[in-house]
């Protein structure tokens, strides 16, 4: 029986090559999108699931609220872990640890030094009770004393290439040339995906000996650093809210007079371990890591995959019900031969499954290319080989079955409904399956495709708008380079600037802090007194020399540059001008801003410029000369360059000339020259990724829908060959025939547009609300996409209908 079905299924698929092709391609596209996106979801959801009872593990984080703003910090005050151990109940394990980036590790025996080896952590045995590591040598208790370190096998192999784990025990490393540590244990690399990226675990006691050690000794509740972490595991059956109450009590007890006076609050919160991977606000321990695909993005991707799958299924449903009468005879015969409806249903579902299976094979190949194309979206650890993992295979199997059922069930019902008598009497000329349903499904397909088209056009428009928007300062032919942060000195930077200025291709050089637009910013609280009211506001600070203003070409609305590079004078932007209540820039001049108990005057006002993306509203910014120089610390650790446009278009000689000067001053540092326009383009990475994704979703959904349309058009024109012949004999023109055949479908595409346009408009309107500076929701975007879709549909239909309409009517009539 099975073999019989399989044979007939294969023969049927082969006989209707066009249909089979359309169905397989449509389904394969949907399936491969689902595979890839399913893989992403699976990947991101399987982080740190291998630790014992990880469901009961929480991280304690801090939240600060004040009347002005609210922010979170993934760390806790240093005394909290101790307090948790002593004062709280319901905690099975309390593991406090401190992350650190020691910039150098040395092996004194071999004399080898390792620069920036990667994140380390100061931890104790509780850390290893909470998180699962396999011990190859030593024990967690080895971390009980200061100056001990546990290494992963990989790290140990790097520091002590000759030794096996057991031999490594007792060896000594020296960190930052000053902190010795004896190897107390070797652990294997984590056995699953993890966000705990540490490879070197120094004993907690060692922490007091580092430059942040005084914090550990002071045990101050008033300061919170994101590197001071607290993880807890609740005892079985403990209600997290009960733990939260105890944390609230501790926070309340430690509130300072200042907090009470200014209505500042700090709360400690429990972050579930499973949230760690996804929470981009609280982050993980790997600063260089691409943020995990956020849950909303995963949901969005899931929707795209689902839509593509649905579109593929719709093609199958439409084509198989439209052509059901081709199979009607076989069904009638089988029924007279004694087949039950159930058997026929199973037969057709089996055929659908076979087709889905073929599509799946194709989709595996497609997935390979999709993974490649979307590499920028995907975490580094995600690759094609993940398909071999059992849960992924099970998911794929379930997906195939689901798709086969979704696509096959309705057509199977339609097919098996045929009355054998009617079939045998050749009475099935009627429309098999409801054409209404096919029309609705086609409208649905085209509406989805249309939404993707509109979205792609508009997101592209917004990106162009943001990139071309005037940033308020010069961005072309501007480059900047950063002095190495732990080696920086003003003398060297000044010398470097002088040397670089000598290069003929460099038009101008300016010392300063961060460029006007960058990913890092430093913000302080500024106080302004006006008519005896105190205006407190955050104020982003930029450090810039006098040349900095000229190089970036800031537009002064009033006032002047600071007199020299050390005088403490503020140049503010319009946003701050408005915050402190002035309309006219002139009025703000010579008013004083108080910051850190020092009053300093405003000497200039510049036009607003964008310190980051155009997505965010421009906040209050002040530019100041090197304000910490009196404290033996210079803010001027960037050198900004104005480059001449080289005639032959190549910048590389200039760049290597700059690098040469840089290496003379900082021989050990890595040279990196950044271009302002590239930096700004980098701000829009997310948007461009979105645009790329939408572009693909659009292309694929349009492709699937058009394939479906093609199949339906071929089917209808075939059915109406005779009608066309008669009409032609009666004198119908080609155009009239083309219109006749395309009209029904054009109406469907039109309806789809009417449904899609408001939906897309609404969705994009709310998307644009996230941007402070946004492009218009122009009507031409909608018209263009609608016209494009209709033109494409016409093209597809035209090719087919014209071919049929041009046939000699004598031929088509004779075949009857």
């Amino acid at each position: 029986m099975f073999r019989n079905y399989l044979k007939i299924a294969l023969r049927n698929l082969l006989r209707n090559k066009l249909n089979t092709g359309i169905n397989i391609i449509s389904l394969a596209i949907g399936l491969s999108a689902s595979f890839v996106i399913g893989l992403m979801v699976y990947y991101d959801l399987t982080f740190d699931t291998y630790h014992p009872d990880s469901g009961r593990v929480y991280r304690v984080t801090s939240r600060f609220t004040s009347p002005q703003d609210e922010f979170v910090n993934p760390g806790v005050p240093i005394p909290l872990p101790q307090a948790a151990r002593e004062e709280m109940t319901g905690l099975e394990i309390v593991a406090g640890f401190n992350t650190v980036d020691l910039h150098k590790a040395g092996n004194p025996e071999s004399g080898l030094d390792f620069k920036d080896p990667g994140p380390q952590v100061f931890a104790d045995a509780a850390y290893f009770k909470l998180f699962k590591y396999d011990w190859l040598a030593g024990t967690p208790e080895g971390l009980g004393e200061p100056y001990r370190v546990v290494l992963t096998r990989e790290r140990a192999a790097r520091y002590f290439p000759e030794l096996n784990p057991a031999q490594t025990l007792g060896k000594t490393l020296v960190y930052n040339d000053s902190i010795p540590a004896t190897v107390a244990g070797i652990v294997a690399a984590p056995q699953g995906r993890t966000d705990l990226v540490f490879e070197e675990f120094l004993s907690s006691g060692t922490f007091q000996k580092t430059d942040r050690g005084h914090y550990a000794i002071a045990a101050d509740w008033g300061s919170t650093n994101s590197s001071d972490q607290l993880f807890v595991r609740l005892s079985p059956g403990t209600d997290p809210t009960a733990v939260q109450k105890q944390l609230d009590r501790i926070a309340k007890a430690q509130e300072s007079d200042y907090d009470r006076q200014y209505n500042h609050h700090r709360t400690f919160e429990l972050q579930p371990f499973s949230d760690l991977h996804f929470n981009s606000e609280l982050q993980t321990f790997d600063n260089g890591r691409q943020p995990a695909t956020s849950r909303p993005v995963l949901t969005g991707l899931g929707c795209i995959a689902l839509f593509l799958l649905l579109l593929g299924c719709i093609n199958f449903i439409n084509l198989s019900t439209a052509q059901a009468d081709q199979r009607a005879r076989e069904i009638g015969i089988r029924k007279t031969l004694g087949s039950s409806k159930k058997q026929l249903l199973l037969q057709f579902l089996g055929e659908t499954f076979l087709l889905t299976l073929l599509a799946a094979l194709l989709s595996i190949v497609l997935s390979y290319f999709l993974l490649d194309t979307f590499a920028e979206f995907l975490p580094e650890g995600l690759h094609f080989g993940n398909f071999r993992e059992t849960p992924v295979m099970l998911f794929a199997g379930a997906l195939l079955t689901g798709v086969a059922l979704l696509a096959g069930f309705y057509p199977a019902l339609v097919l098996t409904r045929f009355q054998p008598v009617r079939v045998l009497k050749n009475q099935v000329v009627n429309t098999p399956g409801k054409p209404t349903l096919r029309r609705i499904l086609t409208v649905f397909q085209f509406a989805i495709a249309q939404i993707f088209i509109i979205a792609t056009l508009l997101v592209g428009k917004q990106i162009r708008y943001m990139q071309n928007k005037d940033h308020g300062f010069r961005t072309d032919a501007i480059a900047y380079l950063h002095a190495p942060w732990h080696l920086t000195s003003l003398d060297k930077n000044e010398r470097l600037a002088r040397e670089i200025a000598k290069i003929p291709q460099v038009r101008a050089v300016a010392l300063g802090g961060n460029p006007p637009a960058s990913n890092s910013s430093s913000t302080s609280t500024a106080v302004f007194f006006r008519d005896s009211t105190e205006i407190q506001s955050p104020l982003q600070m930029l450090a810039g020399s006098r040349e900095y203003y000229d190089l970036y070409n800031f537009e002064f609305l009033a006032g002047r540059k600071p007199l020299n590079d050390t005088i403490l004078e503020y140049v503010i932007n319009e946003a701050y001008l408005h915050i402190i209540g002035f309309e006219n820039p002139e009025d703000a001049l010579n008013q004083n801003i108080r910051m850190n108990d020092e009053n300093r005057p405003i000497v200039g006002v510049v036009r607003d410029f964008n310190p980051r993306t155009a997505a965010a509203k421009i906040g209050p910014i002040a530019i100041m000369p090197d304000w910490d120089r009196s404290r033996e610390y210079s803010r001027f650790n960037f050198i900004h360059l104005d480059l001449k446009n080289p005639g032959d278009g190549s910048l590389s000689p200039t760049i290597s000339a700059i690098e040469e000067r840089y290496k003379e001053v900082y021989p050990d540092a890595d040279f990196e020259l950044n271009f302002m326009d590239e930096t700004i383009a980098g701000f829009y990475q997310d948007e461009r990724s979105l645009a790329k994704l939408l572009g693909w979703a659009m292309g694929l959904s349009v492709l699937i829908s058009c394939l479906g349309l093609l199949g339906l058009v071929i089917y209808t024109t075939n059915r109406r060959t005779k009608e066309i012949g008669i009409r032609k004999v009666l004198g119908a023109s080609l155009a009239q025939l083309g219109l006749l055949l395309s009209r029904d479908f054009l109406v469907l595409v039109g309806i789809a547009f009417l449904i899609a346009a408001p939906l897309a408009g609404w969705g994009l309107y709310s998307w644009l609300q996230d941007y402070a500076y946004r492009t218009e929701l122009s009507w031409w975007v909608f018209i263009l996409s609608g016209v494009g879709m209709i033109a494409l549909a016409l093209l597809i239909m035209g090719l087919r209908t014209l071919a049929v309409a041009r046939k000699n009517p004598v031929e088509s009539l004779r075949t009857e």
Partner: protein, 225 residues
């Protein structure tokens, strides 16, 4: 008595009027009969055969098959009865194009849950008996009309039905092929298969043991049992 029709009516409603396809029809068929039903096109021959073959409903009357009341059957029961006791031969052969000769003949057995080895034996017997062993791997489109009808008959007989219903079995065949099929029917009848055939041709009707004439859904003369 193999089957019995009592006062069968079948009609369709067209434009508010009842159009009778079968009207006041009685019939009794004994085991071993070879009945020919004649009549012009549209007289109800096919409808009668479909009713007898339990493919089609009727509106009024009683139908007993082997003493069982078919008119009181549920769909499932009817389908089971049909599959076990009745074989069909059609004017247009109605072979499944995508299956080979062998597979076409085998199909009814698939629906009767016959074991694979038994199926093989039965189909081989049938191919042998009809002299089409050499054609078993061909598809219907590769056969002549006569050969296709042979396959059709073989398929109808493979389930060993009590009753063979043939709706103009030779309508698409030439006279030599017709004669062969009719002789085959005679042979089968002699071996005990009850046959009811609908036909236009006096010659073919003559192969049967008796002939009834149908006009506008009624017998033109009272059938004798």
């Amino acid at each position: 008595m193999l089957l019995e029709l009592n006062n069968i009516f079948k009609w369709v409603t067209q434009g508010g009027n009842r159009v009778f396809l079968l009207k006041h029809l009685d019939l009794a068929v004994e085991q071993g009969d070879f009945l020919s039903v004649m009549g012009p096109s549209g007289s109800g021959k096919s409808t009668l055969l479909h009713v007898l073959g339990m493919l089609d409903d009727f509106n009024e009357g009683e139908y007993y098959f082997q003493g069982e009341p078919v008119h009181g059957f549920r769909d499932k029961q009817r389908a089971r009865f049909q599959k076990e006791h009745i074989g069909f031969v059609f004017q247009a052969y109605h072979l499944i194009d995508e299956l080979t000769v062998y597979e076409n003949i085998e199909t009814p057995l698939l629906y009767q849950k016959v074991s694979s080895s038994e199926r093989k034996a039965l189909v081989a017997d049938m191919l042998d008996r009809f002299g089409i062993v050499g054609k078993k791997d061909l598809f219907p489109a590769q056969l002549s009309g006569g050969q296709q009808q042979l396959v059709g008959v073989a398929r109808a007989l493979i389930g060993k039905p009590r009753l063979l219903l043939a709706d103009e079995p030779t309508g698409n065949l030439n006279s030599r092929q017709s004669r062969e099929i009719m002789e085959l029917f005679q042979e089968l009848n002699a071996e005990g298969t009850t046959i009811i055939q609908a036909t236009h041709s006096e010659t073919n009707a003559a192969y049967g043991s008796r002939t009834l004439h149908l006009l506008d859904g009624s017998w033109t003369s009272t059938p004798e049992p």
